[in-house]
Amino acid sequence: MTDLAQLQEQVSDASSEGKPLCIVGGNSKHDVGRESSGDPISLRNYSGVVDYQPTELVITVRAGTTLTELKEILASENQMLACETPELEGVATVGGALACAQSGPSRPWYGSIRDQVLGVRLINGKAEHLRFGGEVMKNVAGYDIARLQAGAMGAFGLITEVSLKVLPRPESTKTVCRRLDADRAIQVMNEMSGTPLPLTGASWYDGNLHFRLVGQSSVIDAIAAELEGDVLADGDEFWTALREQSLPIFKGAGELWRLSMRANAAHSKPDGDWLIDWGGARRWLSGAYDRAELESTAVESGGEVTQVRGGDRSAEILPTLPEAHRAMLQRLKQAFDPEAIFNRGRLYSWL
């Protein structure tokens, strides 16, 4: 068990020497973000439940707790972390999942991991251990530093503890599969998402549109029977593979792109190996493409593109930002980490 004082000391030393630190949890996401060098500082052994109150729907865990452990603890009370964050072979940690803002197929309906966050403790660049947010559902005291950490990939500090909202596990799920082309699939997904059906998944891959319904068996069985398509006996397998990013599109060493866009944006260009998730709002594309071209496609559809894998990892991989936006991020970095020791350059070369 790593103790907090050790972590603070390591940060303090790095800060006084101006030496960068590379934050590591389960090391399952070492390839997420840009190349970044620094002495490793590990949270993996800073783990375990701090407090769990099932009737309050809140759990607080140390950042090195794995999602698999978290899931088991919650399951013992018939609860769950609703955003279906990937467990990545059992080693992904809660801190890493929040830092990388990883949410699974249920995201449009249950919210992202950021949406479940109620509070964090973190060590800033001055080696101070600070608490923001808390363990209650509503808290507007001070700026929302807790949720700001989602996607920051450690740039603003070392997350040590996370309080999360949890939900009861639904009684059962049902998956319906329909063969459709991408254009039609996007249309159908959006139509379905606009109805009050108890959906928690709508994804298209390899010519198949998958829907997931949750709730009481009697209710969703009746709904599934009325939907066009086949009810799958082993439907959960698809969602697990999607969540864990083990479908073929995620495999291999080539380039992988992730586009965030308006859910009903047309499926136009380029032709290629696409996976459409989140009812159309998140789209994955594998293969070598021109970043500027993809960026203009995404921006036209109200969104952005990130180069998730492959290509030159020392070049920029996140969406291009205008100067004012960039300046704000740089000043925020300075506010949390004046010596720029945490995960230097992991998000952007200039951050």
Partner: protein, 480 residues
């Protein structure tokens, strides 16, 4: 001399400043005479009043951008105001500053029913959004009690909640994108029309930042499909503890009601007198528990919750039979504040959040404090999410009573922190709760919050003196 942005504070003459504004804003909307400025001297927390130098009402993002540039250039503080319904003095004007009222930015720019989103200007009223997309079977989920009047810009500034947040979340969970004008007049877009935005979650940072980090001039909100069925249970209890336990019981059994509200006997009586909702005025506590979803889901939920309430000793249980009855049951709760306003010359609304399991302890302590201070309290409580609104009744015309009410309120907030909760669930810190920020946060945390403020607003021009106490203020509060 106080220097702001290298200039002596307010060195620019007010008249000269007004004429500069009039070169790019319709002169009728650059208000400098005292009588016309009067309606802007306070927000919904009217015990705090201040006259701004100027009230300026821009009509576009571009006019806001120019206004911010002008103020930045001359080191003039800016306080942004929406509908002025805030309850923490967050929109209290600055005596040396410009009050930037965004009420003219009041258009719903676009509703995209297929993508389930609406692009709106900040002055659009909360309820207007749901009304406008009703024809598509969609609604905007956050529903603060002031939703008839409050604006979406103000909702973003405060991260407004409402009675349905346990299931549908707060403003931060229902906004996709913001257009933000920075203190120096640059325009940036935060978030996007999809559901994720790479990099640090600036959307979360801006939402709830009380107008201290930038000026929001456009908002894209997420719309949800209206549930096909909705019913509410009205359950009376003869003691608060049983009602509190019943709430815990329902949630532990795996049900997430769409709305879950509690009122104490004082609030029940006031609301009933005002709204004639059919509340049981002999009850010590009343629960409103709303279930929504498909017909089957609602029927099963109503059945399970009803049994749970029986188990915890409910003295009467009624279930809404139709939409009219559901609306009537809610009317009582939603009009609790004005109802209290009718029976007391003044009231002071608190906004702490507590872990639900501490409810009995907190309520009995509030009752004790009520005796100690000699002021009555009515309690309304968002039971599902732990956000409580004790209403302290007082009479401002009696010398010293306001001070007493404020001292009582401060005790309640400290109590909320002590049991593991927080000083504000949805009303914001504003000017009102600055002293309690020292209870919620330690010095290093406050310094970090101030560093975030400095990063976005180095000269401290945006809503100065609100939200987060400066180091100097902290020392003053501590020495009290």
């Amino acid at each position: 001399m106080l220097l702001i942005n290298g200039h002596p504070a307010s060195s620019v003459d007010t008249k000269a400043l007004a004429s500069k504004f009039r070169t790019f804003i319709d002169p009728d909307f650059v208000v400098s005479d005292t009588d016309s400025k009067r309606p802007f001297e306070c927000d919904g927390l009217s015990v705090y009043k201040e006259m701004p130098r100027l009230v300026v009402m821009p009509a576009s993002t571009d006019e806001v951008r120019k206004a911010m540039r002008l103020c930045h250039e001359h080191g003039v503080p800016v306080v942004v105001r929406g509908a002025g319904t805030g309850l923490s003095g967050g929109a209290l004007p600055h005596p040396d500053g410009v009050l930037l009222s965004l009420t003219r930015l009041s258009n719903i720019i676009d509703i995209d029913p297929a993508a389930r989103q609406a692009r709106v200007q900040p002055g659009v009223r909360n309820l207007e959004i749901s009304e406008a997309c009703d024809e598509y079977g969609l609604f905007y989920a956050p529903d603060p009690s002031s939703q008839i009047a409050c604006s979406i810009g103000g909702n973003v500034a405060e991260n407004a909640g409402g009675v349905h947040c346990l299931k549908y979340g707060l403003t931060v969970h229902n906004v996709l994108q913001l257009t933000l004008v920075t203190v120096d007049g640059e325009v940036i877009t935060v978030g996007n029309e999809g559901l994720e935005s790479a990099g640090p979650d600036l959307l979360a940072l801006i939402i709830g930042s009380e107008g201290m980090l930038g000026v929001v001039t456009e908002v894209i909100v997420k719309l949800l499909p209206k549930p096909s069925h909705c019913q509410v249970i009205l359950a009376s209890f003869d003691n608060i503890e049983s009602a509190g336990d019943a709430v815990g019981g329902v949630i532990a059994s795996g049900i997430i009601p769409a709305g879950f509200e509690m009122m104490d006997s004082y609030a029940i009586k006031a609301a009933e007198d005002y709204a004639h909702a059919g509340y049981d005025t002999d009850a010590a506590a009343l629960l409103l528990c709303e279930l929504d979803g498909t017909a089957e889901e609602v029927a099963s939920g109503i059945d399970r919750c009803t049994k749970m309430f029986e188990k915890y000793g409910a003295t009467s249980i009624r279930v809404s039979k139709d939409e009219a009855e559901r609306a009537l049951y809610w009317k009582g709760r939603k009009s609790a504040f004005p109802a209290i306003g009718r029976i007391s010359p003044d009231y002071y609304c608190m906004d702490g959040t507590i872990p639900r399991r501490s409810l009995s302890k907190v309520l009995s302590e509030i009752a004790r404090l009520s005796t100690e201070f000699g002021l009555r309290v009515a309690n309304v409580f968002h039971a599902g999410d732990g956000n409580m609104h004790p209403l302290i009744l007082f009479d401002e015309s009696k010398p010293g009573e306001l001070k007493k009410a404020e001292a009582f309120g401060a005790k309640i907030l400290e109590l909320c922190v002590e049991v593991g909760g927080c000083i504000t669930g949805e009303h914001g810190v504003g000017v009102e709760k600055l002293p309690q920020m020292l209870v919620q946060f330690d010095d290093a945390e406050l310094a970090q919050l101030n560093a975030v403020k400095d990063a976005c607003d180095p000269d401290g021009l945006l809503n100065p003196g609100k939200g987060v106490p400066t180091l100097k203020r902290c020392q003053e509060y501590r020495s009290l």
